[in-house]
């Protein structure tokens, strides 16, 4: 692969609306202020322009993408462009008939989120009764011959259930199981005292996942994404700012990551107003953290800067107030004590839950 920035993946956030109210939702806290401004033709143009820029992967996500009644023509348009199209869904609003139509339109993969291995545990996280429904949807996916990804966001209340999660994914004949530890931004940061696990929980879960990966090799891909709060190394967030990913929000903002518009002082362009290629190459927001010129020490002279690209800008801002700071997840970061303090808090967790609601956005 060359070093020239090329977007391989377009994350199309078709709507921020969702029937679930998950406590770790990755949508911005002010989600309710962003309407679905892009129409079918707008999205189809975005797909065309993205493909022309090099995009080959399309994630149809949200919110809940099924709440758009034009999902079928969008999938069809994506397939015409030969994009690998992945529907990332709660499954809740789906019918088997609609899933069959989406398959006929050319959908490549369905990713269903599961919150926990019991109805009660799921409802506590999602703020919605959806567990049985999700299992039914996952079974339809396989019954219709579509590949199934099961995605489970991990945190202190379900990390001890990873063995059962794996058994559930096996029973659903999932092709891929994503065990993704919570990223503590947005809603998850507001709920961090409830969600952040202990190191012991994490280590035990990782061992279980590693064993399952070995046992299931070739049948079910098992991914385990470690939380950067316990790695002492920052993650290569988005494979680097403006290097591989394009995110388009429901109201048309074109971003290098799904939380970039929460950073102050950056300007991002709208896909309705400027061609995607121009935005990718020239938008001030995309340029802001490309390359290494923005990096402070210790990043600037660090040999890992070409591996982690300085970590997560959103995490730097939301923890330190400075988007150019070294990601506090790094043990070399001046602000690493913030991470250590959060870990210490994990010994005395909170059980208080803040659900994703428009009203809660103003209160947290």
């Amino acid at each position: 692969m060359t070093e020239e920035p090329r977007p391989y993946t377009l994350v199309a956030e078709l709507t921020y609306r969702c029937p679930l109210r998950c406590v770790y939702c990755s949508n911005p806290r002010d989600f309710a202020r962003h309407g679905d401004a892009l129409g079918t033709d707008d999205w189809l143009r975005v797909f065309r322009e993205a493909e022309a820029l090099g995009v080959v992967q399309l994630n149809l996500t949200g919110g809940e993408p099924l709440l758009r009644d034009d999902l079928e023509p969008l999938v069809e348009g994506a397939r015409t462009l030969d994009l690998y199209t992945n529907l990332i869904t709660s499954g809740v609003p789906l019918t088997r008939e609609r899933l069959a139509r989406l398959k006929a339109a050319g959908l490549d993969n369905v990713q269903v989120s599961i919150q926990d291995v019991t109805a009660a545990g799921s409802e506590r996280i999602a703020g919605h009764r959806s567990f049985e429904r999700k299992l039914e949807v996952a079974r339809w996916v396989k019954a219709l011959g579509l590949p199934l990804t099961v995605n489970v966001v991990l945190h202190r209340e379900n990390l001890d259930h990873v063995a059962e999660v794996i058994a559930l994914a096996e029973s659903l004949a999932a092709d891929r199981l994503e065990l993704a530890n919570t990223q503590y931004l947005g809603w998850a940061l507001a709920n961090r005292r409830m969600l952040l696990p202990t190191r012991e929980q994490l280590d035990a879960a990782r061992d279980v996942a590693r064993e399952a990966r070995r046992r299931l090799r070739g049948r079910m891909e098992v991914l385990f994404v470690t939380p950067d709060y316990y790695t002492d190394l920052p993650k290569a967030c988005m494979d680097g700012w403006g290097r591989r990913f394009l995110v388009v929000t429901p109201d048309g903002l074109v971003l290098p990551c799904h939380a970039a518009h929460t950073l102050p002082g950056l300007s991002f362009d709208n896909a309705r107003e400027r061609p995607l290629a121009e935005i990718w190459q020239h938008s001030a927001g995309f340029q802001a953290f490309r390359g290494e010129a923005w990096m402070p020490e210790p990043c600037r002279s660090c040999e890992r800067r070409t591996l982690d690209f300085g970590g997560c800008r959103c995490q730097a801002y939301h923890l330190t107030g400075d988007a150019t700071a070294t990601d506090p997840a790094c043990s070399l970061a001046p602000a690493h004590a913030l991470i250590e303090a959060a870990r210490a808090q994990a010994q005395a967790p909170s059980t208080e839950v803040i659900y994703r609601t428009a009203r809660a956005a103003d209160g947290v």
Partner: protein, 99 residues
Amino acid sequence: MSEPRTLTADSRPVVAAKARLRWDARSSRHLLLYPERGLILNPTAADVIQLCTGAHTVADIVDRLAAKYAPQPRETVEREVLTFLVNMADRGLIREHDD
């Protein structure tokens, strides 16, 4: 479910449902795409994947590749093809064709 790591000369590999091959004009390479990922294939790997339709045995695939890449010895081609196919099977990107 078949055990992919037991690929033999008689196996008839097929690209898994989750994977899809596409041409990438920018790199002039085939890409094997699967959820959230993709592999950039070199021309030989692309030749092999294009033969993973369930219609060809591994032995067939080796014969075709050996003919195309003569004068490479068949044993060399066979070793490389098998290594590649086992790797692809371990990633769940090909499986044995169901009869």
